[in-house]
C-alpha cells in the first residue's frame, strides 16, 4: 500500500467526503442507541424532531451556535497560522470577565455599551493569548500545553471571583456575579425565544474574518506563515509579527464568544457560563476545514447535534453524553475524510 497525493482536489469530492464522514459518525451513534435498547431509526427521528421540530428548537440551535461560531473562528484563524491555540475556553472567560468588570455600573445607552464591551473583551482576550504566543515565538515554549494549562488557571480565577469579591449579595448565596446593566444586554431578536443579537454579530464577524483572510495582506501573511514558515521568512515576510497578530485576532474572537454569551444569555458571570465552547470550537473549526464561512455551517451542525441529542436522550432515556461522543467521532471522521480529498491509497 502506498499513499499518494492527488493532483486535483474537487469541490464535489470534498462535499461527498464530508457527507460520508457524518454518515460514519451517525453509524457509531446508532450502535450506542442500539446498546441503550432503542431503535436507531426512532432515535434519529426523535433527534431531528428535537432539533428542527419546532420554532423554539431552531432558535435554540441558533442560540447555541452563537458562541461556537466565535470560538470556531478563533480556532480556524489560529490553526491557519499553525498557532495551536487550545486556550479558547480561558479566553472565553476572560471576555466574560471584562463584560462584567465594565458592564455592571454606569448608565450609558446600549449603542455605546455593547460595542464598548465587545471591544474591551476582545482586546483582553487577545492580550491574554499573547502570553503563550510570545513564549512560543521568543522562548520556543510549546503553546499547546501553555494555552491548555492557562484554561485551568482562568477557570480557577473565575471561581474565586464569583465565590469572593464579585459575588452578588442579592444572589441568595449562589456563586454568581452581579448582573450587567440593562442597556448592556443584547436584545432578543425573536420574541418569546432566547435568540439574541449575538447571533447576527457572530455571522457578520464570520464574513469579516473571511474577507480579512482572503482579501488583505495581513490575512495572506497569516496563511503564508502557516503554510510554510521557512519560505515565508525567506521571502522577507514579518513572520513573528504575523503570528502575534494572529494571536490578537484569535484570542479576541474567543473572548467575544464569552462577551456575547454573557450579554446575550445569562447577564451575569458563573463558572458554568461556557459548556466547553472553547473546546468545541476546535471541532467546529476542523469540521469547517478552517474556512471562516464553513465555521458558521459547522457551528450550526454541532449545535443541532447537541440540541437534538439532548432531546432524544430524554425521550428514549439514553445518557446525554451521546452528544459529546457524536461530535468527537464526527471530528475524527472528518479528519480522515479531508485526508482522502488530498491523498489516495494505491495498492502495489
Amino acid at each position: 500500500m502506498r499513499i499518494e497525493p492527488r493532483e486535483t482536489q474537487s469541490i464535489p469530492g470534498l462535499i461527498a467526503a464530508l457527507i460520508l464522514a457524518i454518515g460514519a459518525a451517525m453509524a457509531v451513534c446508532s450502535v450506542l442507541i442500539l446498546w441503550g435498547g432503542a431503535s436507531p431509526v426512532n432515535g434519529w427521528i426523535l433527534m431531528v424532531q428535537g432539533a428542527m421540530g419546532s420554532k423554539f428548537a431552531i432558535t435554540e440551535i441558533l442560540t447555541r451556535a452563537t458562541p461556537l461560531i466565535f470560538t470556531g473562528l478563533a480556532a480556524a484563524v489560529a490553526f491557519r497560522a499553525k498557532l495551536w491555540n487550545i486556550g479558547g475556553e480561558g479566553q472565553f472567560y476572560i471576555g466574560a470577565c471584562m463584560a462584567v468588570l465594565l458592564g455592571t455600573k454606569g448608565a450609558w445607552p446600549a449603542w455605546v455599551m455593547i460595542p464598548y464591551l465587545f471591544t474591551a473583551g476582545a482586546l483582553a482576550g487577545g492580550l491574554f493569548l499573547l502570553i503563550p504566543t510570545l513564549l512560543k515565538t521568543h522562548l520556543k515554549v510549546d503553546e499547546v500545553v501553555t494555552t491548555l494549562l492557562l484554561n485551568f488557571v482562568v477557570l480557577l480565577f473565575v471561581n474565586w471571583l464569583v465565590f469572593g469579591p464579585w459575588k452578588d449579595p442579592m444572589s441568595m448565596g449562589w456563586p454568581q456575579s452581579e448582573p450587567v446593566i440593562d442597556s448592556a444586554l443584547l436584545p432578543v431578536i425573536l420574541s418569546k425565544t432566547r435568540l439574541h443579537l449575538g447571533f447576527v454579530l457572530a455571522v457578520a464577524t464570520a464574513v469579516l474574518v473571511w474577507l480579512f483572510m482572503e482579501r488583505t495582506v495581513w490575512g495572506f501573511e497569516i496563511r503564508a506563515a502557516g503554510a510554510n514558515l521557512k519560505a515565508s521568512r525567506f521571502a522577507g515576510m514579518p513572520v513573528t509579527s504575523a503570528i502575534v497578530r494572529t494571536a490578537m485576532i484569535s484570542g479576541g474572537l474567543a473572548a467575544m464568544a464569552g462577551v456575547s454569551e454573557l450579554l446575550g444569555v445569562k447577564g451575569y458571570l458563573t463558572t458554568d457560563l461556557s459548556a466547553g465552547f472553547g473546546y468545541s470550537g476546535i471541532v467546529v473549526a476542523m469540521l469547517a476545514a478552517l474556512h471562516p464561512l464553513g465555521v458558521v455551517a459547522s457551528a450550526l451542525f454541532v449545535a443541532a447535534i447537541y440540541i437534538g441529542a439532548d432531546s432524544m436522550s430524554r425521550a428514549i432515556n439514553i445518557s446525554n453524553y451521546i452528544a459529546d461522543v457524536t461530535t468527537a467521532v464526527s471530528l475524527l471522521a472528518v479528519l480522515v475524510a479531508l485526508f482522502f480529498t488530498k491523498y489516495r491509497i494505491r495498492r502495489r
Partner: protein, 313 residues
Amino acid sequence: MDIVNFFLETGFWVAMVRMATPLIFGTLGELICERAGVLNLGIEGIMAAGCMGGWMWVFLGGSLWGGIGFAACVGMTLGLLHSVFSVYLGLSQHVTGLGITMLGSSLSAFVFRMLLPKATTPPKIVPFQSLDIPFLSGFPFLGEVLFSQTALTLLALAAVVGVAYVLYKTPLGLAICMVGENPMAVEAQGLSVFGLRTLAVCAGSAMMAVGGAFLTLSAFDAYYIGMVNGRGWICIALVVFSSWKPYKALWGCLLFAAFDALQMRVQQQAGMAIPYQFYLMLPYIFSIVALIVMSRKAAYPKALLIPFRKGER
C-alpha cells in the same frame, strides 16, 4: 515558619509519593510516544478511559489486577486509533490527539451513565490496600514512605527503571528512539517505521490508562466524571521538563507532587488568608514556569510531529 514542619512529617512524604504515581505512569507513557516521534495529546482522554474502565471492571465483579489489565487494553485500543490517524495517515498530531481526548472522555462518561443510570452518589469498590510489607515497612521513614504504598506505586517506580532499561539498553528501545530522531535511517536499516511508532504509541497509551486506573483503584474508591482533571496535560509538561529522560521524569513527577502535597497542607494551615483557588492554580503555573525554564535546554526528538511517508523527504 510552620512550613518547615511539613517536611518533617512522614505523612507529607507518603502523600507526595502517592500523588506522584499517576503522573509517573502518564509521563512515562507520553515519553515513550514522543521518543518515537508522536505527540499524544490523547493522554487526558486515555487516562479518563483507563480511570472508568478499570473501575467498572472491578465494580462488575472483576479482580483489581484484572481492572488494571483491562484499563491497559482500553488504553492500547485508543493508542492504536491514534496511531492509525497520526502514524499511518500522517494527520496533524495536535488535532487527532485532541479528538482522542474528546472521544475518551465523552465515551467513558457515556458508558458510565449507561451502565449505572440510577447512580446518584458514586458507588464504591474496595480499592488496592497499602502493602505493609512485614520487615521493610517497619523501617523508620523510608520504609513508611516507600513500602506502605499500594502495589501500584511500586509498579510505577519499577516502570521507571524498566522504561529506562528498554530505551537505553535494548535494540528495540534504541530503534524507538531512533525513529523519533531520524526515521529515514531506520527505514534504511530495514526496520518498519510505522510498526515501531505504532508499538510505542500503544505501549505508551496503555501506561497512561494504568495511570488513570490508579486514581479509581488505589487513590480513591469511586469514579466520577471529570476526575482526571488536567493531570494528563500536566504529564505533557513534565515530559518537556524531563528532557525526554525517564529518571528525570521520575524526579519531575516527585517534585510536582511535593508541590501539590504542600499546597494542600498550606491551604489547611493558613485558613483563608489566601483564597484556596490560588493554591489550586499553583500546579498549573508551576508547570508553565517549568516549561519556560526547561525550554532553553529542550532537545526535542527531531522527528516529533513530523509524519513519515515512504519515499517522501
